[in-house]
Assembly symmetry: C2
Homo-oligomer: 172 residues x 2
DNA sequence: CCGTTATGTCAGTTATATTGACATATTAAT
DNA sequence: ATTAATATGTCAATATAACTGACATAACGG
């Protein structure tokens, strides 16, 4: 199946094949990437949504609910269940905004940070190993391609961080 | 937030930051990647699972149920609902195996191929654009990193296709 | 004061997956 | 030939996680 001889003589097939491999890479990588954290989450009776909330609140301390919803792209009702659970169990804190007292600004507690570290440990290891094995140049390419795949609004979240080229350099 | 000066003097922070960016790239890319196909699937009252089944059966004509389950990593009951729906509506065909008549070998009908093309059109475009904009070298790096992130069993699915280096070369 | 915004919540629904138990047909092993 | 194991399918109950819609409160901005 998909014999090389066919590929060689048919650049269109080759390109098509290449694209479909890209699709599958994304599928498998995402699944493998999330698999272990999912197991850990079960022990807390949490789901992937909890992980995402903790991750993005940890990365954006003081974020308000609207902005978090914009990142997660879920309904406020969905977030509510997850978030109130995390607050109730002491992983996330809500503080009333100072300029705008309607807002609830979210931060992760120390307990929350600890959980975040646990949850992401395997993920960071996976990425770190993949980066190390692939080498600096490959990592640069990986980022380029991934960024190129993002929709405009999501890409904007990275622009600030990528342009100042503090990160493009090393990844030893 | 995340000021460059801090990054420059603290390689550990930089590395950590880099890994977390990788995590988010994967999250956003996967979501943006699947967003449009999801919309189309709604029109058929199908879900992402249907897309996956069609994709992998299309890529592996004559695959049996067990192997498909191994790829999808879902229960046979879950697959059953999706698959029987696809068979009932004429997107997928089942044929009794010849060597082993217990098996149901799955193939995509012409109608199924058509749906697959529709569903993946946007995804292929996304990848194609990202590849083109990033360049051949970046694509090579992207693949290396993605492959490096896969678990052993998933990586094995690509080994055959990657080692014969019919694909590493061009991506014009 | 009033329209809008940020947030929260109640209720009902839908989609999708899971587990467990069991059934059928077929193959493979003794 | 009988029997154990395999490939597949199905019924039923449950779980999860999202959704929509409606409504409520508090605070902002003019």
């Amino acid at each position: 199946m998909a014999d090389i001889s066919t590929r060689k003589v048919n650049p269109l097939f080759l390109r098509e094949e290449e694209l479909r491999q890209g699709m599958e890479l994304l599928f498998y990588a995402y699944r493998d990437f999330t698999a272990e954290a999912d197991l850990l989450l079960e022990q807390y009776n949490f789901g992937r949504a909890h992980h995402r909330v903790i991750h993005f609140v940890s990365r954006n301390p003081g974020i308000n609910v609207s902005d978090l919803l914009a990142i997660l792209q879920i309904t406020k009702q969905s977030l509510s269940r997850v978030l109130s659970q995390l607050v109730r169990e002491g992983f996330i804190e809500q503080k009333t905004g100072v300029q705008d007292r309607r807002q609830r600004l979210l931060t992760v507690t120390e307990k929350g940070e600890e959980l975040e570290r646990k949850l992401s440990e395997n993920q960071r290891t996976l990425i770190a190993n993949a980066y190390r094995e692939a080498g600096a140049e490959a990592v640069e390419g990986f980022r380029k391609v991934m960024l190129g795949m993002l929709g405009a609004s999501d890409r904007a979240r990275f622009d600030d961080e990528f342009l100042p080229n503090g990160l493009r350099r090393r990844q030893g």
